[in-house]
């Protein structure tokens, strides 16, 4: 899976450079987020700018990350969702669960 992970002074940014987040690759991002929280990172911002498609497995992987954040007294926020991806969060009401920002810079400014 093509992930770009960078440490900002406010949060760890995970850029998902995959067109699809589905049952084929969602377990990988789930494990990666879990590992990063277990390694002691507190604030993670996931940038979805390059993700054109998400299914229920992809949503589930991010929910898992959100729960991991809560367990570790941290946060998992999302940025730069494409319109169709955002509509999936709205349809499943997950837009009420996650803090979602139009851009990564706005996400970072929230910390």
């Amino acid at each position: 899976m093509d992930l770009n992970i960078t440490q900002n002074d406010k949060a760890l940014i995970i850029r998902i450079n995959e067109e699809r987040l589905d049952a084929h690759n969602s377990a990988e991002i789930k494990q990666e987020i879990k590992r990063l929280f277990e390694d002691g990172h507190k604030n993670i911002l996931v940038e979805l700018k390059n993700v054109r498609f998400i299914d229920s497995s992809g949503l589930g992987a991010l929910v898992s990350g959100f729960k991991n954040a809560t367990t570790h007294q941290g946060s998992l926020k999302l940025s730069s969702l494409q319109p169709q991806v955002k509509s999936m969060f709205e349809l499943t009401r997950l837009h009420r669960v996650f803090e979602i920002f139009p851009s990564t810079s706005e996400g970072l400014a929230s910390y």
């Binding site: 229920s56 959100f66 729960k67 169709q84």
Partner: protein, 141 residues
């Protein structure tokens, strides 16, 4: 078959790496549908999603043919309706028994069938002695 009917009969190995291929086929069909007057980009995404969800279910829960090694998908488009049928040979399930997700107690799983039901006009899952069929219908007008 009517002149303007389209029928695609697809068999792919029951592996998740083929989800993107099936998703692309679904999107291409939607974009080419002159008879659909709505937003084709949205229809394309929705077709991609319901096929991805249904195929993932078939891979997870169904032994999908004699060898249990492939997923069989039939897409039929008539003047006014788009049918997607996915066949499996697993134990099957009662689609009406699957609850909607609990929007207050957030769980990791359990959104696949909800998404399919939300985006299609009719969804049935029929259990036959020799296998099961998930049929999804989208009205085009």
């Amino acid at each position: 078959m009517q002149n303007n009917s389209i029928e695609l009969n697809i068999k792919v190995p029951n592996q998740t790496k083929y989800l993107s291929l099936i998703g692309r086929i679904a999107e291409d069909i939607a974009i080419e549908l002159d008879r659909f007057s709505g937003d084709k980009e949205t229809l394309a995404y929705h077709m991609n999603l319901v096929l991805t969800e249904a195929m993932t279910n078939a891979i997870k829960y169904g032994k999908t043919d004699e060898e249990g090694e492939s997923v069989h998908i039939l897409i039929t488009i008539s003047e006014k309706k788009l049918f997607i049928r996915i066949y499996d040979k697993g134990q099957g399930f009662d689609i009406n028994e699957i609850p909607s997700p609990d929007f207050e107690d957030i769980q990791e799983n359990g959104r696949g069938i909800f998404l399919i039901k939300s985006l299609m006009d009719s969804v049935t899952y029929i259990r036959h002695p020799d296998g099961n069929t998930l049929e999804m219908v989208k009205l085009l007008s």
